[in-house]
Amino acid sequence: MANASEPALHVAAYELAPNPVRLAPAPLPSGWIAAVYGTPPDGWTVVRTLPGGVLALPPGAR
């Protein structure tokens, strides 16, 4: 989530617990998957399409 507010991070972290959450533009740690609103950046691998966005991996991630 680009330009998300701090409270948005807190809500996302709470709702997705026990899975950890980070907000863009923080780098995605190894083994993580990104929830992207809208279309992912070029070069990203879409893992699953969701309403309003996708789950995706950045280039080079496994």
């Binding site: 409270p7 991070l9 807190h10 972290a13 709470y14 617990a17 740690p29």
Partner: protein, 461 residues
């Protein structure tokens, strides 16, 4: 029954089971006798909740996945320990059987009104707490997040200690409240952040029972004791929807338990006082970092107030060592964590000028924030000034003053600036001192107490 009513009934059942187990455990904290009944009821809830959190924490530390039966079994074991190690019963003043001297017609009429106000205060707080799921930012970011993670993962995952991922959730905060949330969820069998808020009005009820019961035992009339409880019950800055889910309401209860037990220990009021002090020290240290600071302040107060060297050491140790042990467990189990919000490099002599400016800014911010509360502060000052000077009241006021001073001055060290920290924390942190302050003020309007205590209640001597 379905939906929220069913969920509330399930949470209520969990709380009643824990309070029942806590009642048995509280036999190790209080002598038998009706004069302790109200306090014992409040402590029973605290003991039951703490026991469940303790078992949950023991499971997580030991690598065992907590289950309903393990938590229940652990709580029953704690209850059995309470039954096995009861405090000897103490004869003495019983406020319920002592005929009131010269009760005025006004006082007789006021008592039911005070009771009704207590009920209204509890009902209003229940409405504030239960209208919607717990929503405060710090509940989502810190207390609820950790509780939900502990419950859902059956462990304390490494990412909760990784500042790169979870700095916002403060890995350095004690885990007492998250463990309690996880324990209640374990007993319920699911995470419920709406009905689970019932915990907070329950803690309010326990606080009010301890306040009124302790004041009665200290010589307060029924009217004074229940008036203090009524005023506290209606104290919205503490019992608010915003604070529901955060650690301030539980800490306010723990501080009342700590202060009253400390005063009882110094006065050698009964044989369970030192045990209660040690238990309250655990509660305070497990809830927030300032619990450790206040435990230290309590130990210092005990050293100043207690003339006997042996008892001084014993009371001071009971006040401080349990909270220190909780902090030690936290560090050993989870690793060291820095207080990232604070820059204590300001204590270096080269930065004293900057520190002085920040202290002025912090004090100014506190004065600005306190200004709208002037009617409350004025009432408290008048009631304090017009009441009688008593040592037990002074001890509680000493704790309140130590905490208030820390809350006012600590923002001077805030990385994001004194104004930011003061404005985001000061109203709620100082609000959590209300039960302790209510006890201290009401005592000054109460009768003599020393004669109420039977001589020779020196535990173990």
């Amino acid at each position: 029954m379905s939906g929220l009513p069913a969920s509330l009934a399930a949470v209520l059942a969990v709380l009643l089971v824990l309070a029942a187990a806590g009642a048995a455990a509280a036999r190790a904290l209080f002598p038998s006798g009706r004069r302790f009944a109200a306090e014992r009821a409040g402590w029973s809830l605290a003991a039951g909740l703490a026991g469940a959190a303790l078992v949950e924490g023991a499971c997580l530390t030991g690598g065992a996945a907590p289950s309903r039966w393990i938590v229940l079994g652990g709580v029953v074991l704690l209850a059995a320990l309470g039954i096995a190690r009861p405090v000897p019963s103490a004869p003495g003043f019983d406020p319920r059987t002592t005929p009131p001297a010269g009760v005025s017609r006004f006082a007789a009429a006021w008592l039911p009104a005070a009771g009704a106000l207590v009920g209204i205060g509890v009902a209003l707080y229940a409405l504030r707490a239960l209208t919607e799921p717990m929503w405060a930012n710090d509940y989502l970011a810190i207390w609820g997040l950790k509780g939900r993670t502990l419950f859902a993962s059956g462990a304390y995952p490494a990412w909760l200690r990784d500042p790169a991922v979870s700095r916002f959730s403060h890995p350095e905060y004690p885990l007492g409240l998250p463990l309690l949330y996880a324990a209640v969820a374990t007993l319920l069998g699911r995470w419920d952040d709406h009905a689970g808020a019932l915990l907070f009005p329950a803690i309010q009820c326990g606080t009010l029972l301890v306040l009124a019961g302790w004041l009665r035992r200290r010589g307060a009339s029924r009217e004074i004791a229940w008036s203090a409880a009524a005023i506290l019950a209606l104290f919205e800055p503490l019992y608010s929807g915003f604070l529901t889910g955060m650690a301030d309401v539980p800490l306010s209860a723990a501080l009342l338990l700590f202060g009253t037990a400390l005063s009882d220990a110094v006065d050698d009021a009964d044989a369970g006082a030192i045990r209660r002090l040690a238990a309250a020290s655990v509660f305070a240290g497990a809830l927030k970092n300032e619990g450790l600071f206040l435990a230290a302040a309590g130990a210092i107060l005990a050293f100043a107030a207690e003339p006997s060297r042996g008892r001084r050491v014993r009371i001071g140790a009971a006040a401080f060592v349990p909270a220190l042990a909780v902090a030690g467990w936290h560090r050993a189990a989870l690793g060291p964590a820095t207080l990232g919000d604070f820059d204590f490099g300001l204590l270096a002599p080269a930065r004293w000028g900057e520190l002085a400016a920040r202290l002025f800014e912090a004090i100014g911010a506190a004065a600005t924030l306190a200004a709208p509360a002037w009617p409350i502060l004025l009432c408290a000052a008048v009631l304090l000034g017009a009441g009688r000077r008593r040592p037990d009241s002074l001890r509680l006021l000493g704790l309140v003053a130590a905490a208030a001073a820390a809350y006012v001055l600590l923002p001077a060290f805030a990385v994001r600036g004194p104004l930011w920290l003061a404005s985001t924390t000061l109203p709620r942190t100082t609000g959590a001192l209300a039960p302790l302050a209510a006890a201290a003020i009401a005592l000054r309007w109460s009768g003599e107490t020393r004669s109420n205590f039977p001589a020779g209640n020196n535990e173990g001597t």
